[in-house]
Symmetry: D2
Subunit: 139 residues, 4 copies
């Protein structure tokens, strides 16, 4: 399986479709069935104490899997998340971006499943883990 969209095309698609959040994210790496997505951490992503909030990490994981799917199937139609699970394991480092390392474990005709490990930039141990299922609309 090969990519139907490259990083530039994905970023352009995001800017058009998700103008509110597209500046939050940057694609660090893209390969078939894989993406590394960076959350450019700003004040609005923080919880008291100054570290990245849970919902911001959920959003990062959700977006990483969505983009990994889109890169494989192209910008046709709207995939939607049907469910997800997330484990918060360590406190993020303060003042650091967060990187999601995402792999698609399944890309079926109707369902896609992705797995994500999230790291504070420069930390070796994962801060959080998430997996999500996307429902792919009929083409």
């Amino acid at each position: 399986m090969s990519l139907k969209m490259d990083a530039g095309q994905l970023q352009a698609f995001m800017m058009q479709e998700f103008p509110q959040v597209s500046n939050d994210f940057a694609i660090d790496r893209l390969a078939p069935m894989e993406i590394d997505l960076r959350l450019k951490v700003a004040d609005r992503h923080l919880r008291p104490g100054g570290t990245v909030s849970g919902p911001s990490m959920f959003s990062l994981a959700d977006c990483a899997i969505y983009l990994a799917v889109l890169a494989m199937i192209g910008p046709q139609g709207l995939a939607v998340t049907t469910n997800g699970s997330i484990d918060f394991m360590r406190k993020p480092a303060a003042g650091k971006d967060m990187i999601a390392k995402c792999k698609l474990l399944k890309l079926g005709r109707v369902l896609a499943v992705g797995d994500v490990l999230m790291f504070s930039d420069g930390m070796e141990q994962p801060v959080a883990r998430a997996s999500m299922t996307y429902s792919i609309p009929p083409r």
Copy 2:
């Protein structure tokens, strides 16, 4: 078990600790081990198509369970989410607030578990379901 904080105290605590998001939420109902929390939907909560985004629902569920725990144990120390799972089942109604109906299923010494059903205001069928575990710091 009885409440250690009432709705006004919770709202005041939120405003002090989470100034970024406290205006997003309103407490519709509070009882021992239960809370109904309203997400006052604004543009920043929407995804393309104009309905409430997944991360906004995750944030609503997370906040509902957090406040339900806090209402029972009081404002001492910082409980943190250790994990959560969420099912997105229906499209939210456009232009409507979202209500989380939350029950604590367990309030232990170190772990609390809450369950949430989320509804578009006025809709009878749930839009999403979530459960989350909170780790309660030693007192």
Copy 3:
């Protein structure tokens, strides 16, 4: 929505399709979109210490949601679990059956979502909580 199979038909279907496990379960109550399913606890369901094991509870939840779906759509085709999440909250009572109280939160054309609370017979507080998604094959 009304039932397409009653408790007797479900039990007969189970005995034919799942002879290995059908004697483990009994239908206590059946209504549209709801079922109460009993795990008749035997030695093979226990973990050290003599209480019901986690995998036995997973199996009970899985079976309850499967039967609730089947009761609504009839015995046509093979629904499969696509994912599930489970929270273990309390120690089960020793020597007691376990009852799953299951509600279908969604019964769509391709996906069904069910929610389950599990109780040791006679205990008021839930032992575990689970939710599962079933993929329904095209008819």
Copy 4:
């Protein structure tokens, strides 16, 4: 971090503590924070159609993470699963053992989190994915 128990010690511990299931499993590989655990598939693990059942895979994942934790902390006290999530992605191959490749993502003082990919022996694509949290009793 280094191992406190080797594969032989783990297998002996299992046989003593979990005589009902210890013959179901074999340790293929053990390393600090990692284990490959084999489910020796027998009739009792199958669902109609002859492939490994969901609850059997849940049990495999649960056991793999439990043993990975035990190998690191030694046989002291009883760790219990507090929650888990599982995604079933492909049909298992018929007549094949199933291998769980497990990594501990966190081994804290009170909580451990493990991640598992499960494969039918000889298949390259994962059949299922699971993650579980264990609560570790105070020593």
